[in-house]
């Protein structure tokens, strides 16, 4: 077993005392920031990037692994104890989990979410361990034209699934692509859209875009529409725990959620929303307590939470093997790799095996740490939700400023941050999803590079995209993903009007 052998080597890297410490720091910070309302996993990773700036790559990625899973755990605590969720993949958790908490079963809801996340995360990481090297072996042979097609697939599926309408998602994507164009073109040395500003020659740092769109945009948006009542954070006495009956009702949803979540995370199909909804529907159909659904059924927390975390593990498969992010968080991880001069993709397993396997091993370790951190310490995390909003959002803004200012010690970057903040406000107000823009900024330059490499290999012959079989196949899927949903919707609408 080659994968097992590499995994053991990875554990040797991850289990050194110093790296264990970084993993612990990562999961703690990840949970801490993830619990704060208004901060989802993607922003958690982006805000904590400067913290890792001075670390060697292996330690930095071990810490990232912790932050990544920690942010997911933290998010579910928020959605159970506070009634509305920050990210769409926790909507379901909020739906049933918050109802459970309201009925005085907060401890059980938090426990089934945490243990379910642990089970799903561990199984998902195991699947990743064996699937990733196998896929990397095949992925080496994928030609540039097909890589370009794969990126198109990610673009289209992410734009179509996030947010209200595919059109708004696509516009968000194109805004991101346009931002990604700014700066010097690496292949020709030609400067593009620099508006005469020397600061723009190096392009716009993705951290500025991510923090501007998420943190500043969110702060501005919430300030204009602040909830005046105190909200209702549910008080929690003692740690998260559940009864024998809760266990009996939870373990099957955990496993089914994992089975749904992992594959949906691994294919570019728009992240964790779909599997959590599917899991919820499935549990609702299979349950012996249908009367509890909508009033706080434990199955409705266990399944979707497991699906959410399994898909977080699944997302790492295309990220590590193809360099293809399928969620905003994964896109930020990709950019973090690039900052260290590493290009995720099939070759990463060969050139930086110790780093990749150290990262995968620390995902296992981080999961165990998170379980230990979340069950007994739940009341402490819950207290974070009580931070008065003026002080919380002011703090988020200050941390955002550090993150962006420390990139180049430049005030110009802060002006850009404000600009993207206003853009982020507008996107929330006018229902444009933010994730496609992030994916566009980070993946746009890669898409262009693959596009040009493919055409250079074919001497400028555009038919390469139709003649290369894999490329053609993926591009047909892309076209279908674009055309089918509106056609189906139009037909459904026509049938609805035709019916009396």
């Amino acid at each position: 077993m080659d994968a097992l052998h590499s995994l053991f080597a990875g554990f040797e890297t991850a289990l050194t005392p110093l790296n264990l410490l970084w993993a612990l720091v990562g999961v703690t910070l990840g949970t801490l920031v993830g619990v704060l309302p208004g901060i989802g996993p993607a922003l958690t990773v982006a805000l904590l990037l400067p913290v890792t700036a001075k670390l060697p790559p292996v330690s930095a990625f071990i810490m990232f692994a912790g932050i990544y899973y920690g942010g997911m755990f933290g998010g579910s605590t928020t959605s159970i104890l506070l009634n509305t969720p920050g990210e769409s993949s926790s909507i379901i958790t909020a739906l049933e989990g918050n109802k459970m908490a309201r009925r005085g079963r907060a401890a059980a809801a938090l426990a089934t979410a945490a243990i379910g996340s642990f089970v799903a995360g561990t199984i998902g990481t195991m699947l990743l361990t064996f699937a990733a090297p196998a896929i990397a072996d095949i992925a080496v042979q994928i030609p540039p034209s097909a890589k370009f097609a794969l990126i198109m697939l990610a673009f289209v599926t992410i734009s179509a699934t996030f947010g209200g309408s595919p059109l708004r998602g696509l516009i968000s994507l194109f805004v991101g692509l346009a931002i990604g164009l700014v700066g010097t073109d690496l292949q020709s040395g030609q400067s593009r859209f620099d508006l005469g500003r020397p600061e723009l020659l190096d392009g716009i740092d993705f951290i500025t875009v991510v923090i501007g769109l998420f943190a500043i945009g969110e702060t501005l948006y919430v300030a204009t529409r602040l909830r005046k009542d105190k909200g209702s954070v549910i008080k929690l006495e003692g740690g998260a725990s559940m009864s024998r009956q809760d266990w009996r009702r939870s373990w099957k949803p955990w496993l089914r959620g994992t089975a749904l979540g992992f594959p949906f995370g691994a294919i570019p199909a728009g992240g964790a929303e779909i599997p959590t909804f599917l899991s919820y529907t499935l549990e609702k159909r299979l349950t012996k307590h249908p009367e509890e659904f909508g009033k706080g059924a434990i199955e409705g927390v266990a399944g979707p939470e497991a699906a959410n975390n399994a898909s977080a593990a699944g997302v790492l498969v295309p990220l590590l093997t193809l360099g293809l992010p399928t969620s905003a968080t994964a896109a930020i991880l990709l950019a973090a790799f690039q900052q260290y001069g590493l290009q995720p993709g099939p070759l990463l397993f060969v050139t930086n095996g110790d780093l990749v396997w150290g990262l995968i091993a620390s995902l296992y370790i981080g999961n165990v740490m998170l379980l230990a951190l979340n069950l007994p310490l739940a009341p402490i995390w819950a207290r974070l939700l009580l931070i008065p909003r003026p002080f919380l959002y002011a703090g988020i803004l200050v941390f955002s400023t550090v993150g962006v200012y420390s990139l180049n010690n430049s005030v110009f970057d802060l002006f850009l941050l404000a600009l993207f903040g206003v853009l982020g406000y507008g996107m929330r107000r006018f229902d444009f999803p933010v994730t496609p823009a992030i994916i566009g900024v980070i993946l746009g330059p890669t898409a262009e590079a693959q596009f040009r490499t493919a055409l250079q290999q074919s001497n400028g012959d555009f038919s390469i995209f139709a003649r290369q079989p894999l490329t053609a196949f993926i591009l047909i899927v892309v076209a279908l993903a674009l055309i089918l949903p509106p056609v189906l919707r139009a037909r459904a609408a026509r049938r609805a009007t035709a019916a009396p």
């Binding site: 400067p50 913290v51 059109l167 692509l177 164009l181 002011a394 005030v411 802060l414 006018f430 040009r452």
Partner: protein
């Protein structure tokens, strides 16, 4: 999700929403501006695909999508403002709060190199807290300075980043 707080809320649902139409036209104009910019990029020498091909694709795409959005807006489509953890969809929209935050942020950013990181970010902190309705002045000043100072110390001494000390040079 309740009704959109854009004026006028009482008229027919399919009426054209001015803000939505403006946004759609803005996207279209942005696409057109990008297209003009792309056409100024030289073809590039000795390259099969030069540096202007991809920008052209992006700007044509953006213009087309903007045009589609404009058509939809003219048909009466309107966007539903997002619902977030701390927002109240029924609350009256208070654009002044966003203005205060933005103003405080820009002021702090401009003063940051001369006054130093601590005072610059303290201004930002204070303005956000004020915009969110906090009025306990003493507490606000104290927390703003404390958060800015702790952040500064953690990032410079703990993480080895360089941030400008400004007027507090020598003290920190």
């Amino acid at each position: 999700m309740t009704d959109v707080p854009s004026p006028p809320p009482s008229t027919a649902r399919r009426g054209i929403s001015a803000p939505d139409l403006l946004v759609a036209l803005g996207v279209t104009l942005l696409g057109a501006a990008l297209l003009l910019g792309s056409l100024k990029i030289p073809f590039g020498i000795n390259a099969v695909v030069g540096p202007r091909v991809f920008p052209l694709i992006v700007s044509v795409g953006m213009t087309a999508l903007g045009a589609l959005l404009t058509v939809n807006a003219l048909r009466g489509d309107r966007a539903e403002p997002a619902a977030e953890e701390d927002t109240d969809p029924d609350a009256p929209v208070n654009l002044g709060a966003a203005g205060i935050i933005l103003g405080g942020f820009l002021l702090g950013a401009v003063l940051l190199p001369t006054l130093g990181f601590v005072l610059g970010t303290a201004i930002m902190y204070f303005s956000v807290a004020y915009a969110f309705g906090e009025r306990r002045w003493g507490l606000m000043v104290f927390v703003a300075l404390a958060v800015a100072l702790v952040t500064y110390l953690v990032f410079t001494h703990g993480l080895g980043l360089t941030l400008p000390p400004g007027v507090l040079k020598g003290v920190l």
